[in-house]
Subunit: 337 residues, 4 copies
């Protein structure tokens, strides 16, 4: 049995483990106030081509989402998301548990659009309704699609015009940055969003997300919020060290590229066999539409998620590749098409 | 500069790192539903001499506290704590942020007593006040003291009689279990408390706490709560592996014992020099009372926390030892007394 | 200008004011523990043909909704509602502010159906999603439609089977109980729901809703919750007295009937003129579909809400009648059709 | 049996009932956007000698407190209060239920002092603790004492210097304004505080508090918050009408003065008999210290609260007078001393 279920089935990339080993007995300050966290932040700032951002390392993705949203919204304010948004569907009410409604509009190929934002905004115009205050998007999206620079720029302008903060969930930003359809650099994210994060968990780290606060007005007292939500690890340097390894050179990009390249092999094979896709394939998540028979045939050899059973009985499934995915397993998977 | 500031200045015990290395490329199920987490839970159950407990691995201590308290209290219910309790002082309002008041009574040598519980309970008798529903204690306490079996048993009986849940924060339970004054086994905790946790962060892990639910009525749907609070790591197996290493043999106890033994050396030296203590020294946290001059003399060579400035101008400081503390540094510290 | 905007434009029915005057200088116990509140509860229990319910008087409707939902759900649990549900749309995020997601399905003529509940329930099957724990419905609905006994009974059975609590918002239950299409008695509500309320604000009171807890397991400590949410008035007897006046004889029903009868006159006139309706007209809320020209013609003489602009440019508007609506104004309104 | 238990045992002052009767069948806009609420706000602004404040009418006191505190604090911020503060003791955790810690210091004759604020502020200096952001005081205090202009001014300056908002609970401000020891005008409150409220419930209204926002930065979107907390009554005009009656002339002051004068009679009689007081008597709440025998003798004829049992066995009790208290009952009470 080989798992294409997700990109967090294995531990850390060996170079991260090495750096953890090498620094293991150093004494570091606690709570993320250590040298390694500073180094990691500086490496990331260099990529962002900006010094004037605040970077915080947070253990997990749901935690980063709930922390970010609850930090900047007043109790009556809501966040707008595509209906497929991770914060809407897959966080067991974590956002609402901090007191905020997630207002949704139907996704377009996994994406939120300017039109969707305008629709959600326009539908909340009185004091008897929640007040939109933030937009949440993910890149890559929950359906593995990738925003173009034009799309992200348009969303950004729309948010600014409407007075909405733009928060981008980059749990899989590595795959976005290295997608063949991508035209966004990391520095673009710092320009277009108010706050976004660079995911470690799904791209080679044991855990950890690097949250980048670009908007000055959001920076104050953010460490209080981290502690308040239980997101401040005593050994914060463990997260810092991992991002130091990922960003001191090109490792973060290499791992994203490796995952994407294996996905492209699978995509190519699927297309050659005439398979359709539930969403445009362009990153390390693929959503081919298969028959029930295919599932019966393969389910003892390969693990993958079922995304949706379609009206015609066919099934959209999900294959995910990662830095740790082996070429052999990809070949074996391709042989099943 | 050597730091006696805390027991989380270094990485993980080498045997934990080895196990992480050895298992690194295995494919595991996500979210803590993996083999290693099961193994770790089973090792712990053996120590507890009970099969009928639920064990969950949570990344951090504040997170475990807020998760536990918010899982079992209704909105109008409160938790009773000593005024020194971590949940009262040092969590940036994390408990209140989940909606619950922490009602405090003055500590006795760092401990909560039966009398303290009765006092807090008796002071909240009407529906115009919060209703006590849980008692929170730590072992070792925030002042490094250790509950005896008689004390814990009495607190447990008091809670049962009053209908209060008993939650024990074991962030430093390793030091308690291996203290020379200790007469409690790990299995006693499962008998006396409704829920408690076994701290990893402060005893050799990179991070992680093992939460043990002993009371059947608290078990249902707890994993929903973990996710809801952002405390469910995608690579939950990383925590599981660490506790596997700590509990597959005596490592957890050895590390606690090592920390305590170094603390005893420091304690002995301090006592020989006639120093007084702010709280009874018996674990890996020591609170000697020193002069301002001592601080001036040592502050460039040793890092430690200031606990309290006393009315007479003397200062209670805190030295903390851990599995990673070196004998050399202890000797150097002793030479300053 | 005469307003058909809502059923809370005027003060209280004169018989309520009289009772407030008559009892004004009596000394009563505070916080709803007074004789009048007990009397009112007893009158209602007689109507319910049950003694074993708890009745609490709450100042407002949104407050009753947030209080009820937050009292019985754990942090990861959600409430299922029609997308038109008041708790979803018109409460400025009040439910989410207490920590709970409102999961919605499309309404059917303003109603939630068994199929809708099954759909929402079936879409939330893993611990990575909120867990459905309660169903929220309103009668009359937000579109003025009325549940039949068969419909309410089927919803009730579905909830029981799925382990969901059923909460019915009866802000306009007076209009439902006296609708010509109604086949439900007040006592049926106590049988079919776990908790429901009898609205005073929209049927003759200055303010106030009578919350009826039918399910034994929900009764404990509810007064703590009322206080915790700021919903316990010091002079609780003021609410008790109003419900005493409404239920000591048939006043509550008479007022609902009066409102409905005036609405029937409007409905009849509209139908004769060939107007269509956005939802089935059967209570004191009517949603005729009118032209833009009609609005231009009438907007200086009559106040009413715009519910929705339809794709074809026509507009669904809302007329609401109440016990205080005058026959003259109804005649004048009819003359505009 | 006559009750001196509180100042909310009777209904409304007859002139308030008259105004409710007189306006009863007028059609008013909902949710506090009506003419009467505007009139009432204007009358109050005249008393405040300021136009640039926002005034909102809220049904109850606990609700006003939780609404105000939760509107302006971020999740990690706390409010400082005397330990006797209503928000600390008598609101069933309502403040914490909105996510905020109440940090307390010991009261001085029922009051919070500059020193108390400095102590609480100084004890919360790191990001591992809640951050003080607001100070809560009541006038009259929970022990019936009255702040002088010098005291309030000093607290105000201290708050400004420390960057803390000052919120004053004026549930019993009528008694403070008309106390013989008072030197504060209503306009002073608008100068010294950021936000305060003028209590109706305890001074002649059926219910209702007038919240005055003085600090410009707190005004935005406050009506969203009112709705979000369930504090926006549909018939908001009912509260507006009551405050119109209280403030169109001197009624509000007359009622406070009447209550105080009766309290002075009781105070004088107690002092002549040599009774001591638990807190300085100067408003409509008196806390004489009596013997157990006194309680045995009087408890069948008079209702009053027990505040505290003193170490020597004597008991501090509370007598409260109001506009509705009769001279006969005061004479009868005096005869028991």
């Amino acid at each position: 049995m080989y798992s294409f279920r997700n990109d967090y089935s294995e531990g850390a990339h060996p170079r991260i483990l090495e750096m953890l080993m090498k620094t293991n007995l150093e004494q570091s300050d606690g709570y993320g106030l250590d040298k390694h966290s500073r180094n990691a932040a500086n490496y990331i700032k260099k990529r962002l081509k900006r010094e004037d951002v605040d970077i915080h390392f947070i253990p997990g993705g749901t935690q980063t989402n709930l922390l970010t949203i609850s930090s900047f919204l007043r109790p009556f304010e809501c966040v707008i998301s595509a209906d497929t948004g991770h914060v809407n569907v897959h966080e067991t009410g974590a956002i609402e548990a901090t007191g905020h409604k997630v207002v949704t509009v139907p996704h377009q190929d996994g994406k939120l659009t300017k039109e969707g934002i305008l629709q959600a905004f326009g539908a909340h115009e009185t004091e008897h309704m929640v007040k939109p205050a933030m937009v949440y998007i993910s890149n890559t999206t929950e359906l593995g699609t990738v925003y173009s620079k034009a799309e992200l720029s348009e969303i950004s302008r729309t948010c600014k015009r409407l007075g909405l903060l733009l928060f981008l969930d980059g749990a899989r930003i590595a795959s976005a940055l290295t997608s063949t359809v991508n035209d966004l650099e990391l520095s673009d994210y710092a320009q277009f969003t108010d706050i976004f994060y660079i995911g470690g968990t799904k791209n080679g780290a044991l855990f950890g997300e690097a949250l980048v606060i670009c908007n000055d007005s959001l920076k104050k007292d953010f460490r209080f919020m981290i502690k308040n939500r239980g997101a401040m690890l005593a050994k914060g340097f463990v997260t810092g060290i991992q991002f130091e390894a990922l960003f001191e050179d090109d490792l973060y990009y290499e791992l994203g590229r490796d995952a994407n390249e294996l996905a492209r092999l699978i995509e190519k094979a699927l297309k050659e066999k005439g398979y359709e896709f539930y969403a445009t394939p362009c990153s390390n998540q693929l959503f081919p539409i298969v028959s029930k028979a295919y599932i019966d045939k393969t389910q003892n050899d390969f693990a993958y998620n079922i995304e949706k059973i379609l009206p015609d009985g066919r099934v959209a499934i999900r294959f995910v590749t990662s830095w740790a995915t082996t070429k052999n397993s990809v070949d074996a998977l391709i042989a099943t098409f």
